[in-house]
Symmetry: C2
Subunit: 412 residues, 2 copies
């Protein structure tokens, strides 16, 4: 207590100043508040249900869900108790706990395209392992990814050029999401060196309209991969368990050979996974991937509790219904204010962009005004609904967005 | 409860059988018990203090510390309570909690070579980020690593060839640890394309004798990096906080430009870090590295509690003293039994290898016999002492190794 800094050193501005002295740029990565309009917080003191309280004591209804991990509610007691009970037995050991098998069995049971599972910690661990497994299985090199897609932050996929070599991406080729002709051309160009076609569950690139996969695109991706003898990899890290508990392309009738998972699978506990089909199991066992904490039993217990809760809760329908309610409310507000907005992608992972907004001035004003009125939205990254969100949360958010939409209209 | 499998399905053999159906090869990575003699467990039900209880209910005194993460004791109440208290406030949010700044300040205070810190989840995240930062800072490509060194399990560094392309390692070159001439030759060969010299805290490759760095080697690595304009990267993932709380090369008078940390820094909680000097901060802020859980506040609270406890506990001296006690005891047993053993590296990270043991038959017999007598040793990977180990633990282990040494002698 005697050594505690004065209260002023724990507010958001003071924390940022302290952080600038000991962290490059004050923060790194996707949670860097420098990507958001001035006025957004960087640090958080409390997270409960759908509410975040920042280091200045402001509480908002959150629609980012920690960029995806939160799905049954911040601090969900059921998940936290399962994790704590497991950690009380084993925090870490010289190998996994039995919960690893329980969780793997649950995922194989839930996911038609999963004959097996391997666990890790980061979405990037999972996408990278998928690529390695596909290369090991085929003895080939080329991996096709959609232009602009985010598949993680390792040198082969990070969106910034800093520290990346040409060789890190020597065998990546690109196609346009939902563009069958471009995919077919990329497959042709890869020839007999095609290791994999990789696709996100839907097009959720930031700053541009989202697109759900067309049935034609998903079906052709499957057919082209089969024809060329490559693997089809689904990156379900961001969308996983929000579009479909059986895998995001299940309703399209398309089974990927390999899928990458993370984000929501443990309701905020650090866990990721690769799932795959039997034909890839031998290759998977010959790729050496590991990490000091990949067997952490408490994260697996959290994941088992999270997935079990989602499964018995009709969670996807709940998130979609509330997403539609939010979307329709904002659309009505935009129409009333005479402001042209585009709301794209699945309703449970909303993105709101404004027409004629090249510098995001409208989007930033809209989101910042909503924040000041108590709703945490993002101006250019897809957002997330959760099982914990309620009609009342959405209605309260719509009160905030109503003021925000009027602020945008007034600025025109 | 009704759905619980019968008790027989939770023993080690039954769990392995279940795992084989849902996990490629039944297990992956460094915790795969297939790397150990038959008779070692794969699954663990309990971890407390220095004791592990496997899924068959056998309790042993552990000298692997979960391959390094455990350092203040399995389930250390002080660490677990700090983590739980933080998680009760924020499990995850749209950004970090203030604990991130506290931990960064603590590390900068503890580590003379650290002007700044960035956090992640895996040791591989940290080593990979060090390479990217060095490349971004220098605009160069070549990274020198020691032959046989383990720096993680991403394609650029994983020890197995499965899924790895030539391009993943196109700009890696090799030198021999502690061999100044070979290092100088590799630096010369890299010419004006040298981005970094990377070195482990000591030579802790598996299956071969360990070597502490000579002062000449460390000093020359620093001098050669400076002369060539590259960065010196210290991989302190495995040894960090066991050799020296100020960084493993601190006593040699050599400050690295970048250091990678993980393993012991959170006593089993999933956390990793890169630390670096001010001159590298700008480059670090221009490399996009991130992960969904890299800001997880509870792991940071665990790390702060762990490091604070180590700092006030004279932990390094304690681990070294017990390591010497174990080493001397085993040396005496070997001499008495007429068995030639080599015990190498720092005493707090012991490795025991037998002369004339190309197939590890002696090492496996020794370790397995010790296990059956209650001491968990590893036949070919370095082991770990912890702050939680006691003289009584070591004495009990020496009773087990006495029987094990006699078994080896009897087998000759």
């Amino acid at each position: 207590m005697l050594t505690r800094a004065p209260h002023s050193a724990t507010g958001d501005a003071a924390l940022r100043e302290r952080a600038r002295r000991v962290i490059p740029g004050g923060m790194w990565g996707h949670m860097n508040a420098a990507f958001l309009p001035a006025g957004y917080p960087q640090f958080y003191n409390q997270a409960a249900g759908t509410r975040l309280t920042d280091a200045d004591g402001r509480t908002t209804i959150d629609f980012m869900c920690a960029f995806g991990p939160m799905i049954t509610g911040y601090g969900d007691r059921e998940v936290e108790e399962a994790a704590a009970a497991q950690a009380a037995d084993v925090r870490i050991a010289n190998g996994p706990a039995p919960i690893m098998v329980d969780l793997a069995e649950l995922m194989v049971d839930m996911l038609p395209a999963a004959d097996w599972v391997m666990f890790s910690k980061n979405g990037t661990d999972a996408t990278t392992a998928c690529v390695s497994i596909a290369r090991a299985a085929t003895g080939r090199r080329k991996v096709l990814v959609a232009e602009g897609a985010y598949h993680g932050a390792a040198p082969w996929c990070t969106p910034w050029p800093g520290g990346v070599l040409a060789e890190d991406r020597a065998h990546l080729s690109h196609y346009a999401y939902n563009d069958v002709a471009s995919l077919a051309a990329a497959v042709d160009a890869a020839g007999d060196d095609l290791a994999a076609i990789m696709a996100s569950a839907f097009k959720h690139d930031s700053r541009v309209d989202q697109e759900l996969p067309t049935r034609e695109f998903a079906t052709e991706a499957r057919r082209l991969a089969d024809r060329a003898g490559g693997a089809l990899i689904l990156d379900d890290v961001r969308a996983g368990f929000r579009l479909d508990l059986a895998g995001s392309w299940n309703a399209l009738g398309v089974d990927p050979d390999l899928s990458a998972w993370s984000k929501a699978m443990g309701n905020g506990h650090a866990i990721a996974a690769v799932t795959g089909k039997d034909a890839l199991a031998d290759a998977a066992s010959k790729v050496f991937v590991t990490g000091s904490f990949w067997c952490e039993p408490s994260a697996m217990a959290a994941s088992k509790a999270t997935l079990a809760k989602l499964r018995r809760s009709d969670a996807v329908a709940h998130m979609a219904r509330l997403g539609v309610r939010l979307r329709e409310g904002i659309a009505a507000q935009a129409a009333a204010a005479g402001v042209a907005v585009r709301q794209t992608g699945p309703a449970q992972m909303p993105l709101i962009l404004f027409d004629d907004d090249p510098d995001l001035a409208k989007g930033n004003l809209f989101a910042l005004t909503a924040l000041q009125r108590g709703a945490f939205l993002h101006p250019w990254h897809n957002m997330f609904l959760s099982l914990a969100h309620t009609d009342e949360d959405v209605d309260a958010a719509l009160q905030a967005t109503d003021a925000a939409m009027q602020a945008v209209a007034a600025s025109l």
